[in-house]
Amino acid sequence: MMAVCNLLAFLGLLAALLVVWRQSRPGRLQLFVAQSALLAALAAAIALYSGHRELLVVAAAFAVVKVIVVPRVLRRVVVGAPVRPVAPGRSAGLKLLGAGVLVLVSYVVMLPVTAATSLPTAGAIPLAFAASLLGLFVCVSGRDAFTHILGFLVFENGIFGLALLGAYGLPILVEAGVFLDVLVIVLIMEGVVVQIRREHASIDVDRLRELRG
């Protein structure tokens, strides 16, 4: 049980690291899909081992929302966007270094959490939290709308993993509300991005600079 959970959580973190590293939008989207599938598997695994059968429903709902629906919406954002050439001299090295620091930070921040939980999965909590911090990092350092949304979704995935590992998921009503909110956020962002593209012929948020001061 512990080994499986640790492995899945580690692979989830690895996917988040690769999202930091990859430049291509379709590539990043595939990594997000892979991470979502890993988390759905994690939820199913915990459901089977711990006997919390209702987690299977959560796993299925999560898979439908994050592996099928959300990527489909995001693909619409990617497809219509002109590909921006990667600026020369911009390597992912510095970003990866920052990501490494964030993983360390997450172990420190999570010390009181791991100390307080007695579940067998508690050891993997910092991995999930690190994945969510990496998502946050991608989101706030991104310069275009697609990166913002993707970072946000990886962030959200990490929190889902955190709740799974630390408490075998949240109460089902809350979980349902969170899925609904995430879905609506993605749809809204897509709508806004489509409109931005119509106005500016780009999804680079650098061009949004009408409001200052």
């Binding site: 959490v113 100390a115 307080a116 969510s132 946050l136 709740a163 949240l170 909110d181 956020i185 931005i196």
Partner: protein, 476 residues
Amino acid sequence: MRLALLLAVPLMGGLALLLVPGRARRPVHLLASALTLAAALAVAAGVVQAGVLAAADGMLRADALSAWMVVLVAVVAGLAALEATRAAPPEAARWFLPLFHLFVFTMLGAVTTDDVGLMWVAIEGTTLASVFLVNAERSRESLEAAYKYVLICSVGIALAFVGTVMLYFADLSVLGAGEHALRWTMLVDLAGAMPARLVQVAFVFLLVGYGTKAGLAPMHTWLPDAHSEAPAPVSALMSGVLLAVGLYGVLRFKVVVDVAAGPQFASRLLGAVGLASVAVAALFLWRPANFKRMLAYSSIEHLGLVCLGVAFGGPWGTAGAMLHVANHGLAKAALFILAGRIRAAYGTADIAAVRGLRGAMPVTARGFLTAMLALMGLPPFGLFVSEVMIFRAGFEGGHAVVAVLAIGFLVLAFGGLLRALHAMLDGEPPAAVREISAWTAAVPVTIALGLLVLTGIAWPPGLAAALERIASAVGP
């Protein structure tokens, strides 16, 4: 029952507005707003009698703090609803009013649920319901504002979710297992046994998360854009009550962390964030260029003051802070409504382009002047009283340095606001600008200012007792 009704009315109203034909929209909208207000007053009356109302197996719960917020949301929503019949942008006529009521529904839901997980869902819902309202005018600026709003608030609120999950861990570590583990009442009961470090870490996440929604510095960057680009009734709702709903989230968790880790921890953080907000706002307000942005920054200033009041605590601090939330909501509702009319008449929100308001729109100018003086904290309006209460708490509680600094920033903001007001009111009026002639236009502003005079010089019976009960609910 009353709680279920309170949530059902705006939700049903919103749905009905989607379905009815164009002509029937206005009466349905006004009816739904009036019924929401009536349901809110019924909840408040129930709380006054019974102390606490609960419904749906305890999932819905209203204590004195909830009731205060419910009435504030409903009153400001009522004022904004009156203006919405006049100021709804024609581009968005079909879904503007349905989303307006959905927005009110999410705010009422956030303050009447006992489940902090559902509270999170509802507060996130406030963003989702209002983002299209911010972009209702469909201009480049409003699109940018909407993008920033949904992105920054979603990320912020996700941080609050991390905090909520951590508190859930802390709760489970005491409780073992339980389906009610995310109930706020349960959290408060068990807080004494929770690991203090864990609750502290969780509170930092919650303060940053819900603080983003409350527009506290340094998480305030979405606020001036969203407030200034949204249509007037939406700005009034966002500034008047949405920020307060965000702060309500922080207050609920302050109670938990106070029990788990002592009252010092939350107070220090709130004091720092509050002072930073007042400072950031005052520095901007010294030289504002756009009067809607000016009002938005003033919201940051006043929410900062509310945080300071809660941080000072004591018998005066929390009560003053809660009174200030209501006073600020009323003043901002009036001001954003008037600012929207001025912008519509002059075709711009630049202070430099608005001249001779007194000559061109005498009634609007008088209302704007009065509401601005109220906002600056002059008697006989309520903001004077609540600010005095907050600063009295600061001096009595031994926070004289913070209080003096905050007063300094307030004076700075006062000077800037006065200068902007002078620039707008005086000068040669442009020929094309006309006053709004309908007498109904004066109704929302008069009601707001009238209520502010009540909280300023003639407290209605029961107000003092209500504030005392809220203060005891929020903590030491």
